[in-house]
Symmetry: C2
Subunit: 151 residues, 2 copies
């Protein structure tokens, strides 16, 4: 795990994360806490619904994919804070047994005008399943330290 | 809990959710799974950092606030699927012991052109803490059943 600071990135840089398999129990456990809709927690109802089986909460998919991004280690030392997300889109259902991996591309880099030791980075994350179908994407914006601020 | 279908909403409708207190163990438990940055899991490092204590993962705050929204019951029977989120902004830190409650306002309603039994609804959710400070907002878009599709 090598952290990359603000100056270490270039717009257009991209990488792929490792994969993670989303199990039925993960889907139900997450949803029971945060998004207890029948489509996420009740297999009997979900089987008879539009997707034909349980599907993961979109908030669960986001959380798992952020973890896959974070585990790359690139911002482990350099991230100051996340500012927000734009254009979160859940484009296909995530089903029990699906394996997700993410492609991340740097889309903007803006040095701070008020603080010389940092800058703002935006990246687009796209999650795909084992059939190479896009299931979710979003753009995330965070403040990264410059190397001069490395602790 | 009374579900509201597509026709039951008007742009400008708003409501407030109940509150929920975010504890330190919730912050650490969530972050250990999905967002294990030191600012979320390591009190010693967080105390010495820019926020002076642990803060919640933004993904955790989103998940908790979606649950507060869902628990109103308004879309329990009527929601078909979430499409996405726009302009997610984490505007102030969420700290252990903070109590969050959310204001929800309907911002758009668009009947489906291809399917007569449904329409698209967008709402803006704003989360505030016990000091009435905005900590997060986002706009969520979902497809709701019309009453004619109530099962």
């Amino acid at each position: 795990m090598t952290s990359r600071y603000f100056e270490d990135w270039t717009v257009g840089d991209s990488f792929e994360t490792r994969g993670m398999t989303i199990t039925e129990s993960q889907i139900v456990d997450y949803a029971m806490r945060y998004d207890p809709q029948p489509m996420h927690i009740d297999r009997q109802t979900a089987d008879a619904g539009p997707f034909g089986e349980l599907i993961a909460s979109g908030f669960h998919t986001m959380s798992v994919c952020f973890r896959l991004f974070y585990d790359m280690g690139y911002v482990a030392e350099s991230n100051i804070i996340g500012l927000g997300l734009d254009e979160v889109r859940w484009t296909a259902p995530v089903r029990p047994g699906d394996t997700l991996r993410c492609t991340v591309e740097i889309v903007s880099l803006t040095p701070s005008r008020s603080k010389a030791d940092r800058g703002t980075m935006s990246f687009k994350l796209t999650a795909r399943n084992q059939d190479d179908i896009d299931v979710m994407h979003f753009t995330s914006t965070c403040i990264l330290k410059k190397r001069s601020a490395a602790g």
